[in-house]
């Protein structure tokens, strides 16, 4: 019984289920996905619309197994994240010609190529350039995204309180999800 349930929960989403789920999304859900897509594609070669379409395709391919009990919005955000991550990893399709998570996780310790480094460097530079003139935001981005600092560390570094920091992070995220900002840097 448990085995059958697990199998059902891990089954691939069908085209019909995905279409119903898309129709059931609210305008805010959909615009939120667009904002997330814009923020995620920084430093990648994908456009936000491409990322959204690609994520639907990957979800239907079943390349990423996700429990059906999970909310569609959460699932789609996860797939979008995975697509961007794969795009950065698989800069050269000859390395692994698939978006399959299992195959990707089997790519054994591929040495960082100059292009890999370029991808993450481009991400860092594009994000920091976006906040040029706002030193606080740049310091927060650097620590939060690229130095993996804790909230406590960030508060100490910036001198901000927890609430002020949260508010600043929220503003940063909103700017990252805005259209057209820093398009030339991509």
């Amino acid at each position: 019984m448990g085995g059958r349930l697990t199998q059902a929960a891990r089954a691939v989403w069908t085209e019909g289920e995905v279409q119903v789920a898309i129709r059931e999304l609210s305008d805010a859900d959909i615009l939120g996905l667009q904002q997330a897509a814009r923020a995620l594609v920084w430093g990648s070669r994908l456009a936000p619309d491409e990322l959204l379409s690609e994520a639907i395709g990957r979800l239907l391919e079943g390349a990423r197994k996700v429990p059906r009990t999970e909310k569609f919005l959460v699932v789609l955000r996860g797939v979008m994240r995975s697509v961007v991550s794969n795009d950065r990893k698989l800069h050269d399709n000859s390395r692994v010609d698939s978006g399959d998570d299992e195959k990707l996780s089997n790519v054994q310790a591929v040495a960082a190529s100059p292009e890999d480094d370029l991808g993450s460097k481009r991400l860092r530079e594009s994000v920091l350039t976006l906040f040029e003139g706002d030193e606080f935001a740049q310091v927060i981005c650097e620590g939060w995204f690229f130095e993996q600092m804790t909230e406590k560390d960030l508060c100490e570094l910036t001198g901000l309180g927890a609430t002020e920091l949260a508010s600043k992070k929220r503003a940063i995220t909103r700017k990252l999800g805005k259209s057209g900002v820093g398009e030339h840097l991509r």
């Binding site: 395709g57 990893k89 259209s179």
Partner: protein, 140 residues
Amino acid sequence: MTKNKGQMDAENYADKVIAEMSALTDKEIMDAAAEDHADPQAEAARLRKLLLEAAVKHGRGRLEAAKARIADEDARQGQTGAVILSFEAKRAKFDRIIARNPGLTLAARQGERMDEAELDGYLADLAELGIAEPDDQNGA
């Protein structure tokens, strides 16, 4: 898999962005959308259409791939020219092969007592040895 610092940075960035974006309220999302689009509802409709089209396109691709697979299987089956024979036809075929190959006396004697499965096995063995009816060799 070993990740380099760049990959870890990119994944950490994506995790943080997703977590923060997921925490936005509908009002915050709509306010941000209003700054970007003159008509956020129209933009939402465009995006919904884009997502639905992506699903349909993928479904169509899957259907075409399935059709191509079936056509490929049909073509391969046609190439093998497999023909299903009745027991009587197999028996007759066996007899004809034996008649054309007088050296196979033991096979001829055993053939009298063979059931269908044994006959299948024997015909397969003969085919493997290159002993077949002229029609078989022509692929008929």
